[in-house]
Each structure stands twice: as structure tokens, then as C-alpha cells.
């Protein structure tokens, strides 16, 4: 078996990490292992290295063998394998499919439920209000409650306007 990093020398160091329900393996040659500080328990983070190796494998699979590259910054899967870091904000879109399973093994969930910038939070609130109002309007029309429908239509109009103002701000 060849070393997973340099792909040149025979792998003699074999590492396994179990995170959640996922088992990840890395096989390294003596030199790469040394370079990555495998022998130094304080300095070595298997997670960091697996991040590079494991993730790029998953990303390759997700891309069906094609080497994806980010249209905004030119970052490729090979770059990710090398650094374990992404190139720009748009990379998350480009490599979304492969990242999903990686994130699953790394984090508590795959959806952000924490803090949202205030501006965006207001947009989200308005969007939710808009879809609520539209549902109510549909109902009002179905039940031929036209008086209510007229009121709802006005509400929808003003919510749309608020949204537009937010977007242009």
C-alpha cells in the first residue's frame, strides 16, 4: 500500500479515527508521518489531516470523478486536499455536495442554527410573513371572504415593499 500523502513510498503507519458512525483511515509512509507530527501526540491532529484526505475523497466521489474548480476563485479539489481549507465563500457552493457528508462527520448538525446577522434576520422574518399572508389570502379567496382578502392583499403589498427596500439598502 502506498502512502496516502506523497503516494510514492510504502505506507507503514496506519491510523484510524472513529467519529460518530464514520470510520476513517489514513495510511502514511514513515517520512510523511514524521512531517505531520504523528509521533508527537500534542502536535498531531488526526482530524486535521483526515479533513484534507477524507474530504477530498468524498468530494471526488460526489463530483463523479471530475476535478471541480470554483468559478469565483479557481480553487480545486486538489488544493483542498493539500490544505484542508477552502478558497473563498463561493467554494461552499461549488463543493457543496462533497462537503455535506464531511460536515456530518465533523459537526453536531449540517444546518446552521446559531446567530444570524440582523439585516438578514429581518429579511427572513419578512419572507416568512409574506408566505404566511399568501397562504391566508388563498384561504380567504377559497372561502369567498373577499373583505378579508382585500386586507390581506394590502398587507402583502406592504410586506413586499419592505423586502424590496431591505434588498436595495
Amino acid at each position: 500500500m502506498l502512502c496516502g500523502l506523497c503516494k510514492k513510498k510504502e505506507a507503514t503507519v496506519h491510523l484510524t479515527q472513529i467519529a460518530g458512525d464514520k470510520i476513517q483511515k489514513v495510511d502514511l509512509c514513515e517520512e510523511c508521518a514524521k512531517e505531520k507530527g504523528v509521533n508527537d501526540p500534542a502536535g498531531f491532529s488526526l482530524a486535521d489531516m483526515l479533513l484534507g484526505l477524507g474530504a477530498s475523497q468524498e468530494m471526488e466521489e460526489a463530483a463523479g470523478g471530475a476535478d471541480l474548480s470554483c468559478p469565483s476563485c479557481g480553487f480545486t479539489q486538489a488544493d483542498f486536499k493539500k490544505t484542508g481549507r477552502l478558497g473563498c465563500a463561493d467554494c461552499y457552493q461549488t463543493f457543496a455536495e462533497g462537503l455535506e457528508s464531511l460536515l456530518k462527520s465533523m459537526h453536531k448538525g449540517t444546518r446552521h442554527i446559531g446567530k444570524v446577522p440582523a439585516g438578514l434576520r429581518r429579511t427572513q422574518d419578512l419572507q416568512k410573513r409574506l408566505s404566511d399572508l399568501e397562504g391566508q389570502l388563498e384561504n380567504a379567496i377559497k372561502t369567498e371572504n373577499f373583505e378579508q382578502a382585500a386586507l390581506l392583499r394590502d398587507d402583502i403589498k406592504s410586506t413586499r415593499k419592505d423586502l424590496e427596500e431591505l434588498a436595495s439598502a
Binding site: A42, S45, C88, L99, G114
Partner: protein, 368 residues
């Protein structure tokens, strides 16, 4: 502005107090943020980094919390200044190694520090002495909310704040506390604690963060997962774990006092002996011995000695701080001499530790 004149003198800096500060040295939270339109610092070219800094720096400097701040590009700082900042835990070693485009903005009381173009465009951190994670989160979140009005963050509803490394994705938060755990180390329980803390999805690191040794029995505990959990939940989880570690450390100390008093007296006595009589001493040995000395002060073997003295020595015996107090350039060997001189001088007025633990039955009237 001269950094050395700006930084709070060590005597003053170590005098700050907080809850549980016998064990919890500092509470710290850092948030990772990036600009929407510029490649991440590690991938972008130099002009990209400079562009990012030109957007971020004035925005940060204009925050009311940063009034009277120290702001400087890293390539304008001397290597010694950067090392000084690392020893104070104000910037990371990674950041200190960066050049053009990277900058730091530090507030007057050193409780807020922005690293510009570290691994992410913005790494902002707040810190307070003792265990005060909720307060720290309140501070940093407020600053973050102000800054988001001035710069365009890379954020999606699905994945939250986008970061260069997917390990920081979502909240971009790292909540950490620096702990002094000599009791657990001496009682040989520390590995057990580290393992159980790891199982809870938290990381334990050494004194200077990622990939560093636990010098002076100082450990950093922090969260690893950043996505799929709210900031408040992460802070709360860490708070709970830290309270337990504090309890274990207190128990370990109490047990050592009770079951192995001679071992404890021996460690502390030898540490004092070496520190107050050495003529050549390395930084590493100093930190490990100072940890014992601090434990000695904590358990009452040095009546009348303030723990801030030990904390101060811990800081001023580190390489850059030693160098800073010297007029000529010191090599490692000369530093070991200077360090020993400094320790002997500062410990000259400290009486040797009590021969018996205060409160133990044999101690009798001797402690008075």
C-alpha cells in the same frame, strides 16, 4: 505608536481577578468571520489580503468598543513585538508569522483583539480573567453585531458564517478557557480527564493553543463543533464541563493534601529551592516549577505571598518578555542566565515554604 508603551505592564495585567481564577486563568471566545467578495486569506493573493485589510481595519477601528485602540500591520511590527503579543495570548503563533495585509487591532484594556487576515479575514476575540464565558459571549456578540453593519460578511442561511476551514463553519465560534491543573497532573488523573473531555467533543490543548505542549500544567479546553448548535448552547456546554473540571481539580488537590502531603511538600519545596537559587534556567523548567510554586501559594504554604507574583513571573520569564527588558540582544543561553537572575531577585524577599501543611494536625502553632 509603540506597542511596548501601549501594553499593560505585567504587574498590572496579572492583578486582574475573576470568578474561580485559582484554576481558571482566562475565559476566551473568538469568532471567525469573512468578507463575502474577497478570497480567504490563505488562498487569495497579496493584493486580495491588502484589500480585505483596507475594508476591515477602518471598520474595526471605528467601533466604540475599540476607542483608543492599538492598530498596526504585522509587517510594521518587529519580531520581538509579535512574540510579546503571542506570549500575552493576544495573537496566535500563526498570525504572528503572517506578513503584508495582516494586521491587529487591540483595545485599551486588552479584552478585545482583532486579528485581520489570519486563517480567516477576521478573527475577533474577547477575553476576561476567571470563569466568565457568558460575559465574554455577551461582549463579543455585541461587537460582532456592530461590525456586521459595516462590513459584508460571507453568510448563508443554510451554513451560517462561511470560514476558510470547514471545521469552523456555522457559528465560527471557539469558546475556550485556560486552566491551571497541577493537582490533576500530580495525582496522575489528567489523562483520564483529557480523554473524557475529548469524548464530549471538546478539545484539550497546551499553553499556546493548537499543537503546543501543556507547559506549566496549563491546559486549554475548547469546543470543536461549530455547526448545528447555537452559540449559547456551546457556551453552556463548556461551562458545565469546566465546572466539573474545577471540581475534579479541587478534589485532586484536597486528596493530595490528605493522602500524600510529603509528596506535595517535596514538589513545592524543591520548586522553590530551584527557582530561588538557580543560575541557569530554561523557560520550560521555569514554567513547570512556577506551576508548583503557584500550587504552594494556593494551599497556603507561602503565607503573605500574593499569587499575582507567580503569575507575573510566569509572564516576564518568557523569552520575548525577558528580551524586552534587556538593552542588548540575548541568545537562548544568555536568556537562561537572565531568567535565573530575575527569579532569584524577585524571590529573594519570599520566605521558604512552611515545612508542614497549614491545618494539618502536626502543624500546631508553627504556621504563626
Amino acid at each position: 505608536m509603540d506597542l511596548n508603551e501601549y501594553l499593560i505592564p505585567p504587574t498590572e495585567a496579572t492583578r486582574r481577578r475573576g470568578p474561580h481564577d485559582r484554576i481558571v486563568m482566562t475565559s476566551r471566545i473568538r469568532l471567525a468571520r469573512n468578507l463575502k467578495a474577497v478570497p480567504f486569506p490563505g488562498w487569495g493573493k497579496k493584493p486580495d489580503r491588502i484589500k480585505a485589510a483596507e475594508i476591515i481595519r477602518p471598520a474595526v477601528e471605528s467601533l466604540p468598543e475599540m476607542k483608543g485602540c492599538f492598530a498596526e500591520s504585522l509587517d510594521n511590527l518587529a519580531a520581538l513585538d509579535k512574540q510579546l503579543l503571542v506570549e500575552r495570548h493576544l495573537i496566535s503563533r500563526e498570525h504572528a508569522a503572517k506578513g503584508a495585509g495582516s494586521a491587529l487591532v487591540l483595545n485599551r484594556d486588552e479584552t478585545l483583539c482583532f486579528m485581520i487576515n489570519e486563517e480567516d479575514h477576521i478573527r475577533m476575540q474577547a477575553l476576561l480573567p476567571g470563569l466568565q464565558l457568558k460575559e465574554v459571549w455577551g461582549t463579543i456578540s455585541k461587537v460582532d453585531s456592530r461590525l456586521e453593519k459595516k462590513v459584508d460578511y460571507a453568510f448563508t442561511t443554510e451554513w451560517g458564517y462561511l470560514t476558510a476551514c470547514p471545521t469552523n463553519l456555522g457559528t465560527g465560534i471557539r469558546v475556550s478557557a485556560m486552566l491551571h491543573l497541577p493537582g490533576l497532573v500530580l495525582a496522575e488523573q489528567i489523562n483520564q480527564i483529557i480523554q473524557s473531555v475529548n469524548k464530549l467533543g471538546l478539545a484539550v490543548r497546551g499553553l499556546y493553543g493548537e499543537g503546543t505542549e501543556a507547559l506549566g500544567n496549563v491546559f486549554q479546553v475548547s469546543n470543536q463543533m461549530t455547526l448545528g448548535e447555537t452559540e449559547e448552547a456551546i457556551v453552556e456546554r463548556l461551562n458545565k464541563v469546566l465546572s466539573q473540571i474545577i471540581e475534579h481539580e479541587e478534589n485532586a488537590r484536597a486528596k493530595l493534601l490528605e493522602k500524600k502531603p510529603k509528596m506535595l511538600l517535596n514538589q513545592i519545596g524543591r520548586a522553590f529551592g530551584a527557582l530561588s537559587n538557580a543560575h541557569i534556567i530554561s523557560s520550560k523548567e521555569t514554567m513547570n516549577l512556577l506551576s508548583c510554586l503557584k500550587l504552594g501559594v494556593d494551599v497556603g504554604l507561602f503565607p503573605g505571598v500574593d499569587r499575582t507574583l507567580v503569575d507575573e513571573l510566569f509572564l516576564i520569564t518568557q523569552p520575548a518578555h525577558l528580551q524586552h527588558n534587556s538593552t542588548e540582544k540575548l541568545g537562548a543561553d544568555e536568556r537562561d542566565l537572565r531568567r535565573a537572575d530575575l527569579l532569584r531577585e524577585r524571590l529573594a524577599s519570599v520566605s521558604r515554604p512552611l515545612a508542614e501543611l497549614p491545618g494539618s494536625p502536626e502543624a500546631g502553632g508553627e504556621a504563626g
